[in-house]
Amino acid sequence: MSMKVQTRQVDGVTILDLSGRITLGEGSVTIRDAVRDVLAKGSNKILLNLAEINYIDSSGIGELVSAFTTVKNSGGELKLLNLTKKVHDLLQITKLYTVFDVKDDEASAISSFTK
């Protein structure tokens, strides 16, 4: 199953609702392109909603890290929302859970971005 992305705007924050798998050859390039598109449109406050991501591999983890650093280097913020247990556990194992700003409530996540 390939990954799908839906984009919406809430209070100046671009939310990417992702669903499916983030793996080599499936979702990893999709995420990269989606984040680049958001940055190209002048927005650098990005919230990745991973509620419907049921699988991620090391390539997918790497793509999340790359997206995080790309947005950060552009002066913006990228945060993660609604991790499934599988993704949560993977970020814990790889010590990335504390690198990312992880949220479990959309409203508080939106309000946490720098105004």
Partner: protein, 175 residues
């Protein structure tokens, strides 16, 4: 193609792999502790990675591992297959990977080989080190080690063989 006595417990995805034209073989001379064993030769493609991953998950389920453990085994085997296809064979259409699945009374043993230049596991940077934590790659071998009980590397000259082992508990169901 003829399978040996091990075919009665083969995961369904193995059948589909052979039906798609992949080469497969099962060995009939099984050790006393081995209940099933099968090996495949596959193209250096992401399609092969997905087939190996699916086969690993089914093999783990048949060996009686719980759902979470079976997912972890499949994830580890996927990482090994990605390494073989991407870093080992570099998608070379003239090179193949092999994947074998052996269920023993005490463990599930999966071997993945490639025909690449070889892999020195000691040369892989620690992905948890502060200087590497934000790297966009380099976590595959780490995840394999995290999810499997034993991981062994063997240089084939050319190529690399990764052996991934998950121990079964004595009371574990499955075959």
């Amino acid at each position: 193609m003829t399978f040996g006595k091990s075919t009665s417990t083969l995961p369904s995805s193995l059948s589909s792999a052979t039906a798609d034209g992949y080469e497969g073989s099962a060995r009939t001379a099984l050790a006393d502790s081995t209940t099933s064993r099968v090996s495949f030769t596959l193209d250096s493609s992401l399609d092969s990675v997905n087939k190996v991953e699916l086969t690993a998950e089914e093999a783990a389920q048949r060996a009686g591992f719980d759902e979470e453990t079976a997912t972890h085994v499949a994830m580890a085997v996927r990482e090994a297959a990605v390494n073989a296809v991407l870093h080992g064979n570099a998608y070379d259409p003239n090179k193949h990977i092999t994947a074998s699945f052996e269920t023993r009374s005490d463990s599930l043993v999966i071997r993945v080989t490639d025909q690449g230049p070889g892999l020195d596991p000691d040369s892989i940077p620690d992905p948890l080190a502060p200087e590497n934590i934000l790297r966009g790659s380099g976590r595959g071998i780490f995840l394999i080690r995290a999810f499997m009980d034993e991981v062994h590397f063997r240089q084939l000259h050319p190529g690399t063989e990764l052996t991934l082992i998950k121990h079964r508990t004595p009371a574990q169901p499955g075959n």
